[in-house]
Amino acid sequence: MPIFYRGAAVGTWWHKRDARKFGFTPNNPGIEATSDRLMNHIARGTVSSPYVSLTRSYSVAWSYATFASRGGLPTARRPAYVYEIEINNPCPRGLELIDPVKELGKMLPDPLETNSYQHDGLPSFLLGVVDSSMVHHLHAPILHPPPGGGTSRPALLSLQLETLIRAMRDAEILALGTIPTSCIRTRYKVY
């Protein structure tokens, strides 16, 4: 019986609306679920999405709830919340859980294709993607094979690679459809 979490920072929708009473619904349930939408949901934070983001990590949910509270710091009087969600196998009707890493893996281009999802920069390039405080790694020019030359440019970053990194950062699992109230076990107060 896997357990998932979702943080609700002070001043956000799921802070005001108690998911234990209403369940979790996506922002735009009617919209078609495609790989592009999945990538945009994770990497670009697109709001109009058929997915609800969950995480396997309580720590990640806690961080979202604590550090992204909109209306001041969470306090004992006005705490942020972390929802604990337990979803049994098989999933409730109308709900599907998607592991974005596995989902993306299915559609990554073949190694023989000209266009790759992989970067062509230095090994330190990923540091710049993972942490924006190391953004200088993103701008480091790539090296060309001898005799060198060519136009200087930074490494390529595909949306697929970016999405993989973001999904792993947040231990993210996407729920497609509505998460019923019966799956929401509890709501922890955090501050």
Partner: protein, 194 residues
Amino acid sequence: MSTNISERLAIALPGEIEGGAGIEFLFVEVSKVFPSMPFAVVHYEENGKRAPLGLRLDLDKRVFLDHFNDKAKEEVLSRAAPEICAFVGPSRQGKDRGHNLFISAYTLPESLVRAGAPHTGVQRIEIPVGVSEKKANAASMSLPWDSLDTNLVKAESNKKKKLSTKNRARKPNVATAIPMPRAKRQRQKVQSKY
């Protein structure tokens, strides 16, 4: 005076980040205790009036997690997000000093409690500002959480022992050498408590 785990550092934005479409960015809040946390909250004025709720900003993704319905305002946010991230960048490079607070700052998930782990409840340790790293570490060492870690390490090492063949010569193993008499004492203390 005490340190709160969710304490924030406010960085003024006027004159640094250009607004537009009626939006003027006032200041951005980042975690003071965990500078590497990738979340910030940007406070702003809308048509000259301070908005009661700030906008969440994911510093790694370099996007706002909150949005406007107004297209022009959305464009301002899209443009400003990477600029604010770059501006805030240097303040994120400080050393996280909240790991000691972090241990005790939240309730253990119920799943762990069900598995027999000790429950810290809503216990909350606030370490006064200026307490040295050593003292802070010592404060956190007495927490049941540490004993939990030790127990888990020991359980893991016992599992490994069972799996290994009986006749094989035993080599000293760093992982199995972790439980010390001190850890045993701690465990007994915890068992008597819970």
